[in-house]
């Protein structure tokens, strides 16, 4: 994996993480900041091309494929690792830090994997490491949620593996380029990618588990899993028509359910679904502009979503509460968190001058160029909904609104610093989109700051705000939870199993009773025949072992001797 011109960032990160458990206090904190910097350093030195080839089972593995698409994701993953590490500096839980870094390493591994086997390995590693970020909250709810998360991803992993095996069998290669085979391999791999991209109805693991993660873990979670899936979709399935519609549906599904959420991080989690929907739509459109849009939206999304999760996390960290219905009036005590969160909010809502604007408008514009009227309208509705719940409803109910009586202190300096860095980046990208566009594969022929784009965006946003102010009393909420697809396996499944189970038990009892009656009669019969010592039916277990031997032998003999 190491050559003179290539040092795999995952390898650096994994090796560095192994040292982490040995350190304490300041040394550990310094190491936590140094590690992501080292990763960024290796990315800086990475030369385009293919590195780290290995032979494995007669296939050639490429552990390091460096091209522009991979680098876009590499850079942003490295950055968010740095931000997340700073945000988590105060946490004195090594397991969490180790898990977070290994999780980051595996996400980087997926992105640089040039073949499906390597990808699969890191894909699975990502699941195993990330689940600890949920479990380390150490509540029963989070354990159960983490367990469901694990099970669903385990199933997804098997689906992916099955797809890869079939793909290898049909094409004779495991190189990861656009997946262009017909038949089950195509669908299995796509399904596995869609599970990780949280495409409804395969999304419930995300909105179920992320709100139960640790405060700092959620930052990493929100950044990595779904975005590696977006990367794999861009690479493997550009221009798949189905994805256009699924993506657009995702955007609406996310915003609708976000409206119903009372937990602040669940609300934000539904907006991950919604935002990833834009990226999936872009992948489905498949034009150069749309794909650039997806990649850059993933880039900006990671930063502002991390910022939002950090803001919400800071509130939870300082108040211990996460329900909108229990928060309110915090602006006096946590003003910096409020302002920094708002920067994330206006970024996700795609206000001009902020990062979301320069990437989301690209996808919307690509849909317009493609003349997809319905898709365009759906995306605009979703963008109104995004503004509505992340930037209006959530901050309003958390920081403004009615006073909840809470008087927390401002979040610790490291949290604010991490949020500050993220906010600065959101702002910078919004002002100098050229920096982002320069990273993208291929020349980007798009300017977000034209009068027409600006006018449309501002009108949608401001009038959404107007509607919010006018209809404030109708905005849903209250101490409720809303059902989602996870109901199927949390309640529906168990109920079904229960019903089927009791049916089976009843039938089984009936069958056994009759069988036993017959058996008893048979035994009596045999005993009568064989006298007192006739133990054919009873002698267990040597008898039954020997009997089985005789049966198998008799089978083979009959077939072999008398038929042959």
């Amino acid at each position: 994996m190491i050559t003179s011109d290539w040092l795999h960032p995952s390898l650096v990160l994994i090796a560095g993480t192994l040292v982490l458990p040995l350190l304490k206090g300041r040394a550990m904190q310094a190491w936590m900041v140094l590690l992501p910097l080292a990763v960024l350093g290796t990315l800086w030195m990475a030369q385009p091309g293919e590195h780290g080839q290995m032979a494995f089972l007669g296939m050639e593995l490429v552990t390091g494929r460096v091209d522009e698409l991979a680098m876009v994701f590499g850079w942003v993953f490295g950055t968010v690792l740095l931000i997340g590490a700073i945000y988590a500096l105060h946490v004195n839980d090594r397991v969490q830090h180790v898990a977070a870094f290994l999780y980051g390493a595996s996400a980087l591994g997926v992105v640089f994997a040039g073949d499906l086997i390597t990808l699969y390995v890191f894909w699975e590693l990502m699941v195993i490491t990330s689940v600890w970020l949920i479990w380390r909250r150490k509540t029963e709810v989070s354990f159960n949620a983490g367990f469901r998360y694990l099970v669903i991803h385990a199933v997804g992993g098997v689906v992916l593996l099955a797809g890869i095996i079939l793909f290898q069998f049909e094409t004779g290669t495991t190189r990861f380029e656009q997946i262009d085979v017909d038949g089950p391999a195509f669908w299995l791999i796509l399904a596995a990618f869609m599970i990780n991209a949280a495409v409804p109805p395969l999304h419930a693991w995300l909105t179920d588990a992320y709100p139960e993660a640790t405060v700092t873990g959620a930052v990493f979670l929100s950044a990595l899993t779904t975005k590696t899936a977006v990367y794999t979709l861009i690479r493997g399935y550009p221009g798949t028509e189905m994805l256009v519609w699924m993506g657009a549906a995702m955007t609406l599904y996310g915003v609708t359910f976000a409206m119903l959420s009372n937990d602040i991080r669940r609300l934000l989690a539904y907006h991950i679904v919604s935002q990833v929907g834009y990226m999936v739509t872009g992948v489905g459109l498949g034009t150069a502009l749309a794909l650039s849009g997806s990649a850059s939206h993933a880039f900006t999304h990671i930063l502002y979503k991390a910022l939002l999760f950090m803001g919400a996390g800071a509130v939870i960290h300082m108040t211990g509460r996460s329900r909108l219905s229990e928060l309110g009036g915090l602006y006096r005590y946590m003003p910096w968190t409020f302002v920094l969160y708002l920067i994330g909010g206006v970024s996700i809502s795609a206000f001009p001058l902020f990062s979301g604007y320069v990437s989301k408008t690209m996808i919307v514009e690509a849909a317009a160029i493609d003349q997809r009227a319905v898709i365009w309208l759906m995306l605009v509705v979703a963008s109104a909904g995004t503004f509505l719940s992340t930037t209006l409803k959530l901050p309003y109910k958390t920081w403004l609104g009615g006073d909840s009586g809470l008087q927390p202190r401002e979040a610790p300096w490291n949290m604010l610093l991490a949020m500050g860095i993220a906010a600065a980046l959101c702002f910078l990208i919004g002002i100098f989109p050229g920096m982002l566009y320069a990273l993208l594969p291929g020349a980007v022929d798009f300017n977000a700051y034209t009068m027409s784009v600006f006018l449309k965006e501002m009108q949608v946003l401001l009038f959404t705000g107007l509607a919010f102010c006018l209809l404030l009393k109708y905005v849903g909420g209250g101490p409720k939870i809303s059902l989602d697809v996870d109901w199927l396996y949390r309640r529906g499944g168990p109920r079904l199993v229960g019903a089927v189970g009791s049916a089976i038990i009843t039938t089984d009892r009936a069958i056994r009773r009759t069988t036993l009656e017959h058996l008893a009669r048979l035994t009596a019969h045999v005993e009568k025949k064989h006298g007192r010592d006739g133990k054919l039916a009873k002698s267990w277990p040597i008898g039954s072992m020997a009997l089985w031997t005789a049966i198998v032998l008799a089978m083979l003999l009959t077939v072999g001797v008398y038929r042959g």
């Binding site: 699975e124 040597i542 039954s544 031997t549 083979l556 077939v559 042959g564």
Partner: protein, 493 residues
């Protein structure tokens, strides 16, 4: 001395050492003598494999030329299995010291003598080129094994040993009957000679019956479903070290004998035609995979769970054989090797738990993840291998098995293999959950981490699991050479 002349010593050294060992008093010297003998034997086996892969080695005892004299005839297939057996013994022995001291405190001389006898018996089976010799060595190793199992501290070990004795003897006698039929028909016992002479007489029911008897006999020793019933108890109640050793070797050697007869003595284009072997083995293999994994998911005792998992793993090997192709057979050989690696590691980890806690019940493992992290992590990592996660040895053999199945267009087998892998996830997970996610009850004694003497060999095996999961040249090369040696190059894949 050439390697041909040296080769018989891998059998002779443990055999002679066992006599010495039986007389030695105390706890240290029997173990030390055993260790030296096993290492010598393993080194010889290690030198034999590359030589045998080049050209078939033949050593005639007492300078009586075969087929009249007794011959050791070694090609890549035997050399591969012999190296596995001797190698596993060599890795297991350093681990044995502590564990045996605790579980078999007295008369260790006799214990190690039995172990050496079992080892030399197993090696004798693999190296011998003479059918009757195979039977004799089989009985030597089996008798020694019964004695070893009976050393278990639980009284049920006696029962398990007795039951194994009955079934093992039946199996060996079946083999003898088969050999007898072959001798009656051909007048020779030399395997190579048999292979030459059989084609003239193979259209008789006697020869077909011989094949059936040999398959059933070896199926018993191999613990192929439904002939596996002796195995779970034997593995559960035997001393940990015995389980560690047997799990990696005994069933593997039985599989080798079965393959040697089916493929070399009777040519596969005959044996798979007269009996519906392909179908029978496939059904039994798949049934074993399922039944073994299924039962394993519900076992309250980890050792027993792993024993049932072994039944399932044997199912994979039998499945590979049933595909009758070079790649299928390679997969079987690969899994034979890899399974030895992972099962030995798992049993070692469990043995270490038993050493510390005195029990392998799931409820006694609760909360141990925190107090014995190294042991339980080793278990979890070896568990990954048995599940078949990439980068582990288990993945490699399953990959080849799946390729072999796809090669024959047997799509459903792929599904079955993946489903049984998921079942493996469940039974391994149960241990992990107990170790890390459940609290130790107050009544249970607190225990610390196990001594290094137990941990280091376990971790070496875990490391090997990963090494052979990444660098597959040695295993895949060896397995393919073994498969080709058995198929004699005559069969097209």
């Amino acid at each position: 001395m050439t390697i041909t002349e040296l080769m018989p010593f891998s059998v002779l050294v443990p055999l002679i050492a066992s006599l010495v060992c039986a007389l030695l008093p105390g706890r240290f010297w029997p173990w030390a003598v055993t260790l030296v003998a096993v290492i010598v034997s393993a080194v010889i086996a290690a030198f034999t494999l590359p030589a045998a892969a080049q050209v078939t080695l033949s050593y005639a005892f007492g300078n009586w030329p075969p087929p009249i004299g007794i011959e050791y005839r070694v090609d890549a297939a035997n050399a591969f299995v012999a190296l596995l057996v001797a190698g596993m013994a060599a890795v297991a022995l350093p681990w044995a010291k502590k564990s045996v001291d605790k579980e078999v405190p007295e008369r260790q001389g006799a214990f190690y003598a039995l172990f050496l006898l079992a080892l030399s018996g197993l090696l004798g089976i693999t190296l011998s080129g003479d059918a009757f010799n195979i039977f004799v060595f089989l009985e030597i190793s089996s008798l020694a094994t019964y004695g070893l199992i009976a050393h278990g501290s639980d009284r049920r070990a006696l029962l398990a040993s007795f039951r194994y004795l009955i079934m093992g003897t039946v199996g060996a006698t079946f083999l003898l009957i088969g050999i007898g039929f072959l001798y009656i028909m051909t007048g020779t016992l030399n395997l190579a000679d048999l292979a030459e002479r059989l084609p003239e007489v193979r259209d008789t029911s006697t020869v077909r019956a011989a094949l059936a008897f040999i398959i059933v006999g070896m199926g018993l020793k191999l613990a192929m479903l439904p002939l596996h019933l002796w195995l779970p108890n034997a593995y559960t109640y035997a001393p940990s070290f015995v389980t560690v050793f047997l799990a990696g070797t005994a069933t593997k050697v039985a599989l080798y004998v079965m393959l040697r007869f089916v493929f070399t003595v009777f040519a596969p284009d005959w044996s798979f035609v007269v009996l519906p072997l392909s179908t029978v083995l496939m059904i039994l293999g798949v049934a074993g995979m399922f039944a073994g994994s299924w039962v394993a998911m519900f076992q309250p005792n980890i050792k027993r769970m792993l024993a049932y998992s072994s039944v399932a793993q044997v199912g994979y090997m039998v499945l590979g054989v049933s595909l009758v192709s070079v790649i299928g057979l390679s997969a079987a050989f690969l899994h034979l090797f890899n399974h030895a690696l992972m099962k030995t590691a798992l049993f070692m980890a469990v043995g270490t738990v038993i050493y510390q806690v005195g029990s392998a019940r799931l409820k006694d493992v609760r909360g141990l993840g925190r107090t014995m992290p190294w042991t339980l992590t080793a278990f979890a990592l070896a568990g990954l291998s048995i599940i078949g996660v990439p980068l582990t040895a288990g993945f490699v053999s399953k990959w080849y098995l799946i390729q072999a199945a796809l090669d024959q267009g047997q799509w459903f087998l792929v599904v079955l293999i993946l489903v049984t892998s998921l079942m493996a996830v469940i039974y391994i997970w149960r241990v992990i959950e107990a170790a890390w996610f459940q609290e130790r009850s107050i009544k249970q004694p607190d225990v610390g981490e196990a001594p290094l003497a137990l941990l280091i060999p376990t971790w070496i095996l875990v490391a090997l699991n990963f090494y052979f999961g990444i660098d597959t040249r040695l295993t895949v090369g060896g397995a393919t050479a073994a498969a080709e040696a058995l198929l004699g190059g005559g069969m097209t894949p």
